[in-house]
Amino acid sequence: MAVTVSIKRLERSIERRRRVDRIFYIIFLLSTLISTVSLIVIFTTLGFESFNFFTHVSIVEFLTSTKWTALFSEKHFGVLPLLNATILTSLIAIAIAAPLGVMIALFLSEYASSDTRSVVKPLVETLAGIPTVVYGYFALYFVTPNLLRPLWEGLQLHNALAVGLMIGILIIPIVASISDDAMAAVPSDLRLAAYAVGSRKSDVALRVVLPAALSGVSASIILAFARAMGETMIAAIAGGFRSILTFNIGESMETMTAYIAQVATGDAPHGTIEYQSLFAVGLFLLLITASLNYIGIKVVKRWAIRY
């Protein structure tokens, strides 16, 4: 005798399941909204405190003055020295990370067997997994005294060069993995077609895959540059807190992030101008990195559509 199930029970079950499903839907949606809310909170908090800051300091002075003496008694708030240090260290970083990252990506996508790949890729990824204080330590106590000083006598103990080099190592995985994705997206027909007209493997790698993946590669470099600009601990440890406008990468210079770290560890009571300057510098940094990320994502999207 077959067991029959009453429809009434099914009806009740559906009613109940529909309600539970609805409740969880709302929970999941609210959770998803938290990221967006966080972004809003980030911009409003920075904006609000920056507004307070700019009632004391003119935006023109902030953007054009070459003196940043926030922690002295005679205060000047010209962001250029900080911006200069941030850009210089990031440029050095990208000068290291871009070629190495792209080369690693080419190796992974064109030359490595899948076994090699499964070993090398996680190894490269660990570069980004090492805490940045460790890189800072390495820059200050090994790279500068043991690698750079022998080559460059006048090098200061804290200097932008070592900072840039270490940030460069840190961001290699960003360049490598995004470029690798872009190269993987190059259709294999293109490679076959190149071989069919007598190309060597190196021709395929350098003249077919690399150009075809170029927008992905450029995006990786832009995104990595944005990441370099936001790096704090390496700059704070090995770059020092000297907010002077200089182009000598052998000297100590203070990046925007290092300034924030310096003020945060010192005594900057709530409501003072030093406290507010944290937010102004933060907002300025965020606007730059956000624009870079925006461009980077745009470039990635354009490349994604093409194939």
């Binding site: 399941r17 908090t45 390495f138 601990m233 956000a290």
Partner: protein, 298 residues
């Protein structure tokens, strides 16, 4: 066409291309070597400098002006509290977000805006999270420069990273299974609960541990939130002042005395060992869960 006679230039050009073809893989592997060698030498130098300073004191003692006695007990406790709490906030949120994005929203406008914002959040420099947390949570909401503020900071900081892994984990579940369950009259929640989630969970937990490792290594945002680098007591509540391991290391690194530099190397070894252990746990847990979860009705 008969035999072509190559000019000297052409012959040299072909030889050059052949050489390039042979050299390119070597040059490219050199790039890999440089990257790997950097990590290796970094580890080596840390071990050489700090290996002999490893001791139980380092873990059990409070920080001290005397490098012989100084340890990072308060920092380790601070890290456990802060990062642990942040994981408790971040991982459920990430899983819920991923479920919304993959299982509930059918690729609508709202969901593409929301996932775009997650990508944007991922691009915010970590120190900004600290600055905003200090202003918004610390002062505006009055939570102070405490463990709970730090935990929320790290939770939101790692949210995009963990969410992305959770989304990928759900996307890796074959659609066949979902359709099969829907066709039997399952609701979306039931599909998630009985079909997608059990199969995605191992990868999601790996993502969670990835987030925890990231949070453990983060110094900058906590530096801004906590401000304090020298704490000589265990945290007693969520509203205690606190420091974390990378901050304690920053403090030691910044001191001029060589004894503290050695101490910081030893501390780095401890931090790296913890990270290594976490990753090992992640791999083991994953293997275990893949075998256990999703093989029976639950």
């Amino acid at each position: 066409m008969g035999h072509q006679v190559l000019t000297g230039f052409e012959r040299r050009y072909i030889r050059l291309r052949k050489t390039i073809d042979r050299l390119l893989p070597i040059i490219l592997s050199l790039a890999v070597f440089i990257a790997v060698a950097t990590v290796a030498s970094l580890l080596l130098i840390v071990i050489i400098t700090g290996g002999h300073r490893l001791s139980w004191n380092l873990i059990l003692n409070y920080p001290s002006a005397n490098p012989e006695e100084a340890g990072m007990r308060s920092a380790i406790m601070g890290s456990i509290f802060t990062v642990g709490l942040s994981a408790l906030i971040c991982i459920p949120l990430s899983i819920a977000t991923a479920i919304y994005l993959v299982e509930y929203s059918k690729g609508g406008r709202l969901s593409s805006i929301l996932s775009y914002n997650i990508a944007n959040l991922a691009g915010v420099p970590s120190i900004i999270f600290g600055v905003v947390a200090l202003g918004f949570l610390g002062y505006w909401l009055g939570m102070g420069r405490t463990i709970i503020t730090g935990a929320f900071t790290l939770a939101i900081l790692t949210l995009p990273l963990v969410t992305v892994t959770c989304v990928e984990a759900l996307k890796a579940v074959p659609d066949d299974l979902r359709l099969g369950a829907y066709a039997l009259g399952a609701t979306t929640l039931q599909v998630v609960r009985h079909i997608s989630l059990p199969r995605a969970l191992p990868m999601m937990l790996t993502g969670g541990i990835l987030g925890i490792s990231r949070a453990l290594g983060e110094a900058a945002p906590i530096l801004v939130v906590s401000g304090l680098l020298f704490i000589r007591e265990d945290p007693t509540s969520l509203f205690s002042k606190f420091t974390v391991m990378p901050l304690q290391l920053y403090n030691w690194i910044s001191r001029p005395q060589p004894a503290f530099v050695e101490l910081s190397s030893a501390g780095i070894i401890v931090l790296l060992l913890i990270l290594l252990a976490l990753n090992g746990v992640a791999i083991a847990l994953r293997q275990y869960l893949i075998r256990r979860i999703g093989q029976t009705w639950r």
